[in-house]
Point group: C3
Chain length 298, copies 3
Amino acid sequence: MNHIISIHDLNRNQIDRLLTRAGAIMAEYAGREPLKGKILGLLFFEPSTRTRMSFESAMLRLGGSCMNLGGVEVSSMAKGETLADTIRVVSGYADAIVLRHPKVGAARLASEFSDIPILNGGDGAGQHPSQTLIDLYTIRHSMPLDHIDVGLLGDLMYGRTTHSLAYALTHYHACIHTISPKGLGLPDSIRDNLCELGAEVIEHDSVEEIIKDLDVLYVTRLQRERFPDPAKFYDVSSSYRITPSLLADAKDHLAVLHPLPRVDEIDPAVDKLPCARYFQQARNGVPVRMAMLTEVMG
Amino acid sequence: MNHIISIHDLNRNQIDRLLTRAGAIMAEYAGREPLKGKILGLLFFEPSTRTRMSFESAMLRLGGSCMNLGGVEVSSMAKGETLADTIRVVSGYADAIVLRHPKVGAARLASEFSDIPILNGGDGAGQHPSQTLIDLYTIRHSMPLDHIDVGLLGDLMYGRTTHSLAYALTHYHACIHTISPKGLGLPDSIRDNLCELGAEVIEHDSVEEIIKDLDVLYVTRLQRERFPDPAKFYDVSSSYRITPSLLADAKDHLAVLHPLPRVDEIDPAVDKLPCARYFQQARNGVPVRMAMLTEVMG
Amino acid sequence: MNHIISIHDLNRNQIDRLLTRAGAIMAEYAGREPLKGKILGLLFFEPSTRTRMSFESAMLRLGGSCMNLGGVEVSSMAKGETLADTIRVVSGYADAIVLRHPKVGAARLASEFSDIPILNGGDGAGQHPSQTLIDLYTIRHSMPLDHIDVGLLGDLMYGRTTHSLAYALTHYHACIHTISPKGLGLPDSIRDNLCELGAEVIEHDSVEEIIKDLDVLYVTRLQRERFPDPAKFYDVSSSYRITPSLLADAKDHLAVLHPLPRVDEIDPAVDKLPCARYFQQARNGVPVRMAMLTEVMG
């Protein structure tokens, strides 16, 4: 494996291998430094805490070093340099690059100009494959991945994490339940695609209606800016808020996930329930990204 | 010792142990890497040069690695995440966290949500315990800490470093001399508190009046924004400026300290006098913070 | 050698020694860590990608660590601290400093207040010695440095890289050909100086006129802000654009260099021609800066 650009590039075997490696990696490399002497270049042209810091942590845990571009505003991109030129130059300084960029397709473009592996850290509304691997890894920790019922909640029109996760789950014959505000539903083209790939996709009007059947509930942030009317946003977001009472009828093994940051989508009272897996999910960023880094540089 | 949040949490024994360890640490760890494989997360939600860089230097000198959050503007805090959530996540990526935050109490709050040690790097007008340890360490290098006369000069109303230092000096039965512009004096509640803890606190109208009795003169920055009238600021700040002539009558072993950055409070002509200890004080940040890091992670 | 502030401080022997060391350094230090335990402080008060990241990469490749100031806006400079004070403090935290600063003479000033080596990473319109060493190193990789014909293209009035390169080439008896828009020609004082130092300097009206005689063509960016009239900028910049057809009559061994970032000065179709050396030039930043770092810290 060279670049990791899209979850679509990975077949089930490759996904399973990465997840298995992630599960063993902390023990496997304890006290060793398999990436000692290697440099990871972090090129983040958009805000990020979790993705950047967990890639950094993963690289450091493997004995390697990191180098940050330092924000577009202090870089030569501000002087009008193309992404292709930046990548060509930085690929002479580092051994792999994690790229986050506001434009869809940026990571693929970057991979065409790079001598070293490119790991897509999110390209606009496009792909974010390491997040999807973390989601799968977190689910697999609680239950086998095959034939599960997964609820996707929130903005399913623009949410890249839910799209990628849904695609990846087709490898495992999942039944996907969508719950989203009017106008923010799963695009028809994606739904059709998922069905062709073997998933079942069922639309619901509310979480209440389906909560007791779910194995996984994947919550995402509703973005205020999608709603022209602030009052409307308030109404909608409160009816998409996850609370302990909503979860009362859920299965015992239900896993509630969220890619974070959360704002009001999940009541903090949920944090202490056994179903709350979103902080563990964030932490799983380290072993999963360690697995990815050793895959491309090891 | 787990977290280091406030100088109030440390008793005299603990302070003395940290200062003694700081004194020996460069020799003790020369060529060794006691924190190899450990990661220090630096979460700075406010400007800092000295605090951040000297914590970084201390961690690197101990063989560890550092990871910066990268400024609130590029982080998920900008998306509305709570400090509690940020801490929960980052504590899965690092082995200790240094937090600087504009709100009083932020570090204490953070410690309640963290699995790993929190070191307070300054919380608004609240605490900044590593600075106080550096101040004590710098004084102790020149004289025994017990029963000294310490002048605190400048804005004593809002200055967190002077408050913390004064509290710490009560363990050593100091006599504290305050010199501050009208309206920026030591708050009564703090003065009463210091007296209850065994310090003597004496107010003065000018440095000239007390300079010859001081063992330590601790100078702080007057902030222009505290003065509604710019002309007033100019008048006041010039009469609080430390010059060689002012220091002519001082004791031979007087130590002039300043937490830096300075603007006009100390005439650059003072820099070459033997009493000028503020650059050494800044450099002492490294051994003192090395001692703190090994205390919580070693 | 202690500080590296200006290319003028280096004689031909010192330059040759650094270039020779750079050529051998990757092999010489493979698997070794000659700067293990050392810290490089990166103080960049101006935007930079290439200079900062290649210094970081060089330091990491030598087994050392790096520490970034983090931008003037988040530092104590914003509180009014002088550069002298910042340098005095940071020189207590690191083992060498790379400084980039908008003011001419900043690096020289810094060296007067620093206990540790200062490497000038560019001071305004002043010096940028590591760039010049990289330029020479890149040329030397293709041809002997003595008695070559070098074309300097673009804004030669303000371009610090072309000035420094021209001065360095006087050691090698180069013939320097200048091609620049009206009003942006080489300052007379610099031309006279170069001639006194033994260079030949010839002015040309267009690249076409001289291209077939050149061994090296050094292209620089025209800055829009130098032209009061945008239409004028467009006219001029298009007649200074390097294209494959312009290069058709060039010598086989012609090397086209550019300090990057480029915007429109070089047609991307040139990138694949054998004369295009600008990406290799950028990558040469790592070995050349490794040589500089071992020179001052090794």
